[in-house]
Structure formats: structure tokens, C-alpha cells
Amino acid sequence: MSKVRLATVWMDGCSGCHMSLLDMDERLIDLMQHVDLVYSPLVDTKEYPENVDVVLIEGAVSSEEDVEKIHKIRHRSKLVVSLGDCAVTSNVPGMRNRFKIEDVEHRAYIENAQNNQHVPRSVIPKMLPHSRPVHEFVKVDLFVPGCPPEADTIFFTLSELVAGRMPDLTGKTYFGA
């Protein structure tokens, strides 16, 4: 049986979902018997590959770069999973949404900066007016809420997907977990 081509993506999130993924500990070794990790912050692939079977998205869509990325990911992946509250609801990144972008930038880069106070206009991707959940941009096939979802929840989700089943997560995780 060929291995499942798995990707994980880190957008506007704190990386806590990836930490929770690593929290599967020795179960990762079992899982890797069935999975080929083709793209992830944990591996050194630069370009999102074609023909991805399953992709776990951590984080909300918050910048123009995220929008470009998420469309490419959808196009190149069979099954898109929103992993964690930021991807599912926009969560903490979305807390800036009630403020104007200029005010958010001013707060981050000028008010709270000790050195080199200026708003970067190059290198850093342009922020969207609102940080929004992934499914407001592309079709999402599975939602795994939680902040972060527990390692057990992620293991259950991946095990089911590897076995070719769509996991039923009712009662297994919740917003704010």
C-alpha cells in the first residue's frame, strides 16, 4: 500500500497545533509507517507539492500571502483539514478584526516597539482587513477545533484518515480545548 502524502501548513497561528502534533510522541513513529510528510514547517520542502492526499492547516488566513497559499493548497490537495481554532474560527488572530489595520500596525510596530519604530512596507506580507477562518476562502473537508486540539485528537484524526475513514469528532474536541 502506498503511503499517504501528508502536508502540514502553518499560517496565522502560534504553532501550538504543531506542538500538539509533536506531542503524539512515539505514536508518530507508528504513523510515519503509513505517511509520507511531503511538506511542513518540520521538513525542508520550500514549494507546496502536487498531489497531496491530506493537509492539516494551522492558523487563520490573515495576509495576502495566506490567501495565495490557501488557494494553491486547495488546488493541490485532496483533503483539506482545518486544524485548531485559528483555522476553524480565526480565534486569537481574529481579535484584531474590530480595529483598523493602521491602528493594529501602529500598536505593534510603533507604540510597543523599543527600537527602529516604523511600519514595514516590504518583506512582510500585506495584512488583510480581517483575519478569517480557512473555510471562508476555500472548501474545507474536515474541522478539528481546539486550542490546540489534543495530541490524542490529532492522532485519532490522522489514524482514521490513513485508514480511509472520515473521523467523527463529536465529543472528542471543542472550541477552546
Partner: protein, 235 residues
């Protein structure tokens, strides 16, 4: 007092004619999900989570404010009802800024629990991200409009039980807000007795005690039936 006989989910039930569907179902051991209802307070049918299907009408009737009648056939958990309950929950989440992960009431929140129980894994409606404020002017308590679901439990407990009527609702539709006195800062309220009943009955993190961090705000809601019972005995 007249007694009515009817069925709930196919089960034959008898109740007094003054009972609501919710009371009759609860007495019969049938659980109907609720949010704005709280034992000990008058019902207003604000949240619509307790909607039921009743024979003879296409309308979905809220169990908390619908009286039982003879021969009613009531369904409490049909597919249609489940669909609408989930929709109501999603709309509540989309309407304000409910960020469970950083909320004082995380894991002690009735809205969060309902979402979990109803298998709500995402919200299909666009989040509104309203410009809702926090009033921390009271010495002991905080009002966070971001988490308010407009259940009006605070309004009712203050009016019906404490007798102070500090709370009320201002505005229309999604612009509705709970207010203290004449929309004055809570800390400036001349009517508030600081009894904390509103904080305890609030189902979410909208009302909390000061000094509580994420997931630390545990509400004590069982004081209310006890308080009402002791009052009745004295009358």
C-alpha cells in the same frame, strides 16, 4: 387543576395545564437543550434552542413558553430541530466575538458546552466581528459584551429576584446590548447592590468576577432554586 395528557417523543406524559412543554419534558426525564432558561427565573423564549415540533402546526414552538394541551404530539429532537438548533448556535457564535481559548469562562460556559453537544465543528456564517466593548468600571465585576448572547438572565434575576432592576436591554437586532441603569458605566450605577446574582446566572463569560484569568470563572447557579424555595416557604 386540570390535567392534560399528551406525548413527548412517543412517550405518554401527563402534566398540569399550567405546565410548559419544558417542565413536562423535564419531569418525564426528557432533556431539551436550553440557554436562556434558568430554573428559578421567568421564561422569555429568547434563545429558541428549546424549539420543539408540535402536531397541528408547522411552526417550531419554544418549549419554555409553550403550555401543554390535551392530545399534543411533541417531538423534541427531530432532524429538522437539530438542524435549526445547530444554526442558532452558529449564529450566536458569528454574532459576537466568542474566543473560547482566551475566555474567563472556558470549560464553564453553557454556549461552549452546547456547541460541543450539538457537534458544531465550524460556523458556516460569516463572523461579524462587532465592535463590542468591555465595562470594567465596577469594583468587583466585569461586563464583556464580546461574550454576551442576550439571554437576559441578568436582566431577569436582577428584576425578579434581587428587585433592583439595574439591567435592561438597549437597541435593536444585532445592535442590542445589555445595559446598567440608563446605559451608564456599571461602576457608576446607583441601583446596583453588588449582589453578584447576574454574574452567577450568566451562561457565558459576559459577566465575570474581577481577577479571574482564562478558564477560571466558575459560576454558582444552584443558589437560585434554593433561594426561591426558601422564599416560598416564608410566604
Amino acid at each position: 387543576m386540570a390535567v392534560k395528557t399528551f406525548t413527548i417523543d412517543g412517550q405518554a406524559v401527563t402534566a398540569e395545564e399550567t405546565d410548559t412543554i419544558l417542565q413536562a419534558a423535564t419531569d418525564a426525564g426528557i432533556k431539551i437543550p436550553t440557554l436562556c432558561h434558568l430554573d428559578g427565573l421567568g421564561d422569555v423564549g429568547a434563545c429558541r434552542l428549546c424549539i420543539t415540533e408540535v402536531s397541528g402546526t408547522n411552526k417550531l414552538l419554544p418549549a419554555c413558553v409553550t403550555k401543554v394541551s390535551e392530545g399534543m404530539e411533541i417531538k423534541t429532537n427531530s432532524e429538522r430541530i437539530q438542524k435549526y438548533r445547530r444554526m442558532i448556535l452558529e449564529l450566536l457564535f458569528a454574532e459576537r466575538n466568542h474566543v473560547c481559548s482566551v475566555c474567563v469562562a472556558n470549560r464553564h460556559c453553557e454556549l461552549q458546552t452546547l456547541a460541543e453537544e450539538h457537534g458544531m465543528m465550524s460556523v458556516r456564517f460569516p463572523y461579524q466581528y462587532p465592535n463590542t466593548t468591555v465595562d470594567a468600571s465596577h469594583d468587583w465585576f466585569i461586563l464583556d459584551h464580546n461574550r454576551c448572547v442576550l439571554c437576559t438572565r441578568c436582566v431577569r434575576v436582577c428584576d425578579e429576584v434581587e428587585g433592583a432592576h439595574v439591567w435592561d436591554v438597549m437597541g435593536r437586532g444585532t445592535n442590542s446590548r445589555v445595559i446598567t441603569d440608563l446605559n451608564q458605566p456599571w461602576g457608576d450605577s446607583e441601583t446596583c447592590t453588588s449582589c453578584s446574582k447576574c454574574v452567577q446566572v450568566c451562561p457565558t463569560g459576559a459577566l465575570s468576577s474581577k481577577g479571574k484569568s482564562v478558564a477560571e470563572m466558575v459560576k454558582k447557579r444552584d443558589f437560585l432554586p434554593y433561594l426561591m424555595a426558601t422564599r416560598e416557604e416564608k410566604i
